[in-house]
Symmetry: C2
């Protein structure tokens, strides 16, 4: 009928077919192909999913026929039969997209059970309890995933039974009680859905496939894809596989393992397993599993077979693997393998180790590490030199330390986090429904679940600290508090968690700055050999400059001078200057600021010498230095009410008048940047003098400095010419006074569209260009960052009008077009002109790649992002050869 | 020595040499060439001036030698001798730039007089009084212009003499008293300058030339050039010419005349003369002269010769001429001719008349009229159907009516005018020092001076109403008031002046809308034959639309919908909508707004049918519709002080919270335009429904309409696609409800740089583009209009960083580059796409020319600028063939 093939037996596929079969399906096929013990099965393609979704949720023609044909082959292979009482064939149904989406999609085990086949399973295994437990699990899972019945409804029922029977664990429930539970389960289904739980196993299968397909568009999947920038049009495949049972007794079990430690990168088998359990018990974190090494004692033969399989898989895939397996009565079955997620630390170590082991090349190693992810390594850590008394210790599930208010639900965490508060999300266990809360939390603490639990995986993925399985904390959701022994921690109390050690601490704890591991240094050394871009830092103070140097900065690309105006002892002088009505008074105030600024520049230049330092002259509008308008307005009203001294009122009113006269409708587009230099040349003259005098002093101290004096917000050559003349005039004065010649150049920020389109003219008079992409993004898109990020960017992301926040990831199609134009124009009139970027995009990998592509000379970013920038620059060079 | 020729005798030049000889010099040469009676003379070139200014005020080598060589030739020609007691040669020294700059530069008459030559002049003429009056005038003029001594110092002295002698007019002062005055004048010079008044006539000449050269850079000249966009690098020439004396008795005189009426354009000799006077007496407006027609009675032969000369000049120059002449003892001398400045009304009439007279072509006529100037004709006039009682009547010196506060000095007029207040500048006479005040005044009223006085010429040039020579008003500068008979008008009182009739009226008077004269209609008819651009109007109401149609609009290019939200009965509903927290509540409020909007659209579409109407969906941020934040803040503080009802306070605080939550840091770049449509689709849906329902109603009334639904502030194709789908959905609903099919298209404003650089993509989904150059200018330059125009644009203009206010004249090198890019990109993906402009630039001639050059289809501007746009579009077509 249809010419398309929608179903592939595992034997028919391989690991290259991940777009069609999904990652899980392709890897199951690959493992089958290389002779590993995989229960037989087949995969329904992502094309079938897309056809299903595109046609308004109808299976494409011929698909179901293919499915049942493949099922027949499984029957032939196994000798079991689907829907037959004797020796029934049971299958698992799992989703599997081309790109791994942990926890996002749903799994159904034991499909094929009904009131008849369950008896056959009992007969076959001679284990009633096992058979009915499988059936019970199946009904619960199917009802949750396919029929959409809250799984808590079933959990509650089981809890009631256990209480009644005074039992602790599910597996202690005897068979006859399980039959009662199954009856109750079926009643729940009938009540909730108005129909009986389906007994026709083919109908079960068809409904399960539908549910997997539809789950591609559930809310959690959509959010995950948005967060991880996964294309919505990929679709998911469905894997249907014969069941292997980990829950048939003490020589059974199920587990997950990484071929190397995903947290540290150490070369050691790392994983957990549960005896007598089915897969979802491990992943969901409901029971805390035992380390994989214990398998060696309990099932030594299986353990050795598993170790060999791991080595085989790692060498085959040339990367660390994340493996799911089941042991059925002493026989090992591989259920999944994929490249394992890992922390940044592990990522760096594994990449460097694998180069040293001869498995991959240096270039591959550089491309293996996610540049954005290594941000984790640049987070602060708890100061280990201080003795701390933790109130509890859990599993070190995701490294880094975090501090914040204890919050018990994801909605609240999102709300506070969005409002700028630091929160730690504290849960018994997390589920995909909690993702939005994790996004906004500083870190996660769970009382249950292991190193591979949902919370741990998601937190590691996001680079957030996580302590999991911290069983000593008892959460009281009604009382909004948790207790550890006799310590009570209320919602809103501050705690610190240390994801590197698993410690939980009361209050805020001293942290230390990050340093680079040996492997990281090695990797960044390789990056330097490959990258074309120079990496500079945005730094306004000597301390920042020193940190930047330590991280490998090759200069300062942006030293802002306005922060220097804000210091307590200086602000009154700055305000005096602004409030002056005469040039003389302004110059007098500026003269008092001069020594401060000279000192600032002396400090930063000394640290960075002889590397270049780009110093930007004053940029923000003057009213930013004045008191708040609303407060002043209310203060005056209050003073009047109190019939205060008229002179004080008049003075305040005068101040308000000045604040009002400097206030702007759109300060971003107002009287700022070089416009201040044009209208108040004396301010730029003071700043320039401070720079030159600092350079003279350093030269007298035998320190050679190199300064790039930067004029912000230029929109026309004429501005630059005018201000350049002022700067050169000040230089001539200083040279005349001191007899010292200095090494400096004068250039401009390019941060307005008009500067981009007239870049050829501006370049004639500029020694360098520095793209200020924050402002350029604001003007090109007409987005005020302050307004847009809170008000409409979230909606724009949600409605997919934009793919990324343009203030985080450089907008290549808009801002990028203007940048490229400016680069071309500038080079056309001054071929060798130095060009860089100093917007926040300068530390973001995709933006750095774009800067490489258009041929900028350097990127400049915050000191803590320098290593990211080095790696991203190397990757850009490798990916754009 | 130098290879350059710096001096040209009048015989050596012609009218094509205006860049080198200045306008005055070139025309004196031309008049000499065609045989008119011009006193002999020569011109020092503009190149000499530029060389002088460039070298730090040194005469270029050889120049002075050339001057004295030319002077020798004049001596030979006239038989007189410079610096010789017997029959001394006297000359005038006048500046003359390439472009006429009335009143800006300075003139010196009677140069060559000293203590000796004055006696020779007395001997020669037998008229001591005449000779010493000439000498007195010369000292005064020279001291003012060359030595920089306040001329009031001399005036005061003369006034004291006249009081002492009980005389009224200067010319009544007897010779012996003039000698005393001369002595006193010389004493003033000695006291003020520390040296004697120069007796060496060559030194006089050299100093005078220097003064003319330097005056190119005096403040008034610079301001005039800035206002009139004249290049600073042109320089001025100097004309040195034998004196002809209009002050040698009753058969002498001096005058100025236009070959046609410069106010109405009527074909009649128009001018004034003064018997027994020198030139500056007429121009300065010190004495009120008599009409030129009176010359016919007094000196009939001279009059006839003058009339013949005027005809000859007009035919020669093919344009109306502005002529200066002197009659010396019955002999006519021509001192200057140039194309005459005229009112817009005269400009139009003269151009059309000259076509009818066969003097010029229609194309020339179109190019003769200054498109910007005809704005004057589109000003409101006093309603002539109402009987008004003027308090005084002066000369109708510049047409149009103006109303404002009486202000007596230019500084104050500037200050208030800049602050947005309407003022009438009232002066005895104006001088070039008053120009800045005239710029900011609505109109000018003077008690002295004629139709060609400084005030009249300048006001006509600026298109401002002026009543001059209103002698019945007595200005009391100390009391800050003027009186007419027994009426006292204090500074700050409101008056109305009618420049068309010369009437002065108390208070504000009813005005009527302008209509087009027959000649204007004719000219605009010719414009329509030539222009390529369609002209549309920006109109939000049926009345505006009707006016636009009357002026020749071919459609509406911008109908804003936000003004419709502001009406008193609607604003509370709009506020209710904004303050709603739920979609349901918002939709309820919107449903109540729907009938209003439908009615609005019905009205405007009905007027404009079947022409296209572009309706822009809601654009401004919602907080613009809410109460003022400061007022609310103070109100709450006050309510609390009064211990008002807690409920009311809470309510107000709730409102303030909402106002605060909607407030934005940079509203221009905030939550507005299509971003509102994306976040609150229900608003755009209501507006679209109102449009479609209005169209249905009109179709049912048999009126065919054509609407272009316009989406503002688009920065990406995705916004347009989303909103287009909403609009089409509403259309399907309305069509379903009514069964009526409508004629509409959907397009977008292009007003963000990103829209320009992605115009090819946006064009795929847009039926039309309308460039919103107000916003595009703001974002491209990073200039917030509200902030920039008050704060730094004036300084930018002064420092010549920009040539024009970019919000008035389209910035071709910045905004224009993006527009051209957008046009090219859009045509590349949709060749026939309709494109226009609806920013305020759409009514400004230079911007219209640019729109023509980049191939837009239409411009849209305010109804009152439609005729300007039609003419400018025709000129653009003619100038860019």
């Amino acid at each position: 009928m249809s010419s398309k093939k929608y179903v592939y037996l595992f034997e028919e596929g391989n690991s290259d077919m991940r777009m069609l079969l999904g990652g899980k399906g392709a890897n199951l096929a690959e493992m089958t192909r290389i002779g590993l013990p995989v229960p037989p099965g087949f995969t329904i393609t992502t094309e079938a999913c897309n056809a299903y979704l595109a046609s308004g949720e109808k299976f494409p023609e011929g698909m179901l026929e293919e499915v049942f044909a493949a099922l027949s082959k499984l029957e032939t292979r196994t000798g079991k039969k689907f829907s037959q009482r004797e020796n029934p064939l049971l299958v698992s149904v799992r989703s599997g997209a081309a790109i791994s989406m942990p926890g996002m999609m749903d799994t159904i085990l034991n499909l094929g059970l009904n009131d008849e086949t369950v008896k056959g399973l009992a007969d076959l295994t001679g284990d009633d309890r096992f058979a009915y437990d499988c059936y019970r699990r199946f009904i619960q899972m199917f009802s949750d995933v396919v029929l959409g019945i809250e799984h808590a409804t079933f959990d509650d029922l089981i809890e009631r039974y256990k209480r009644k029977l005074s039992l602790i664990f599910d597996y202690e429930i005897p068979a006859e009680e399980l039959m009662n539970i199954i009856n109750d389960y079926k009643n729940i289904v009938r009540e909730e859905k108005g129909f009986d739980f389906p007994q026709d196993v083919k109908e079960q299968l068809s409904m399960a496939i539908q549910a997997v397909f539809s789950s591609w568009n559930n809310q959690r999947a959509i959010v995950y894809r948005r967060l991880n920038k996964i294309d919505d049009s990929l679709g998911t495949a469905v894997n249907i596989q014969c069941m292997a049972f980990g829950n048939m007794g003490e020589n059974c079990g199920t587990g997950v393992a990484f071929t190397r430690n995903p947290s540290t990168g150490d070369k050691e088998l790392y994983g957990e397993f549960l005896i007598n359990a089915q897969g979802e018990d491990v992943v969901a974190g409901i029971r805390t599993p035992t380390p994989i090494s214990r398998l060696k004692d309990e099932l030594p033969q299986v353990y050795q077979q598993f170790v060999d399989t791991c080595i085989k898989l790692e060498n085959h895939y040339r990367d660390m693997q994340d493996i799911e397996f089941t042991v059925e009565k002493g026989t090992l079955y591989m259920l999944q393998t994929r490249n394992g997620k890992r922390t940044a630390r592990a990522s760096v170590k594994i990449a460097v180790d694998m180069v040293n082991e001869g498995i991959i090349s240096k270039e591959e190693a550089l491309l293996r590490v996610d540049a954005e992810q290594i941000n984790q390594l640049l987070h602060r850590q708890i100061d280990t030199s201080i003795d701390l008394e933790p109130i509890a210790t859990g599993l070190p599930a995701s490294p880094g330390a975090a501090c914040g208010k204890v919050i018990f639900d994801a909605d609240q965490a999102e709300k506070l986090g969005e409002a700028g508060q630091k929160v730690i999300l504290v849960r018994n266990e997390t589920t995909p429904d909690d993702i939005h809360g994790i996004v906004y939390a500083q870190g996660v603490l769970t009382s249950r679940g292991g190193m591979t639990s949902h919370a741990a995986v998601v937190a590691r993925g996001m680079g957030k600290p996580c302590v999991s399985g911290c069983e000593s904390i008892k959460i009281d959701l009604v009382g909004r508090q948790f207790t550890v022994n006799d310590v009570v921690v209320k919602e809103g109390d501050i705690i610190t968690i240390d994801g590197a050690t698993g410690r939980v601490l009361l209050g805020e704890v001293a942290m230390i700055e990050p340093t680079l591991s040996d492997e990281f240094e090695t990797l960044l050394g390789w990056a330097n050999q490959v990258k074309k871009l120079e990496i500079r830092a945005n730094a306004d103070a000597p301390g920042d400059a020193a940190k930047a140097l330590e991280f490998g900065a090759e200069g300062i690309g942006l030293c802002r001078t306005e922060h220097m105006f804000m210091a307590t002892e200086r602000l009154p002088i700055v305000q005096e200057m602004i409030l002056s009505d005469s040039l003389e008074a302004r110059e007098k105030a500026l003269a008092r600021l001069l020594p401060f600024q000279r000192e600032d520049f002396h400090g930063i230049l000394k640290v960075m010498a002889p590397n270049p330092v780009t110093i930007r002259l004053l940029d923000p509008p003057l009213h930013e230095f004045l008191p708040n308008h609303d407060a002043l307005l209310l203060e005056i009203a209050e003073l009047k009410h109190q019939k205060a001294d008229q002179r004080i009122i008049l003075e305040k009113e005068e101040l308000l008048k000045k604040v009002n006269s400097l206030a702007e409708s759109n300060p971003m587009l107002g009287h700022r940047g070089c416009r201040l230099g044009v209208t108040y040349p004396e301010i730029y003259r003071m700043q320039t003098r401070a720079i030159f005098e600092a350079m003279v002093k350093l030269k007298q101290e035998n320190i050679e400095t190199y300064v790039e004096v930067e004029i912000p917000l230029v929109m026309d050559l004429a501005e630059l010419e005018l201000l350049k003349a002022e700067i050169n005039d000040v230089y001539q004065q200083v040279k005349g006074e001191t007899g010292v010649e200095l090494n400096f150049v004068i250039g401009t920020m390019i941060e307005l569209p008009r500067a981009c389109v007239t870049a050829d003219k501006i370049a004639n008079q500029a020694d360098f260009f520095s793209f200020g992409t924050n402002d350029l993004t604001q003007t090109t898109l007409g987005f005020s960052r302050d307004d847009a990020e809170g008000k409409f960017i979230p909606i724009y992301l949600e409605k997919k009008i934009i793919k990324d926040n343009p203030f985080a990831v450089l907008d290549r199609n808009g801002v990028g077009v203007l940048m490229r134009l400016a680069v071309e124009k500038a080079r056309s009139s001054k071929p060798g002109i130095l060009m860089g970027i100093c917007g926040e995009h300068g530390g973001e990998p995709s933006s750095i790649e774009f800067c490489h592509m258009i041929g900028l000379d350097y990127v400049s970013c915050s000191p803590y992002r320098i290593p990211i920038a080095r790696l991203a620059a190397a990757q850009a060079a490798l990916n754009n050869k």
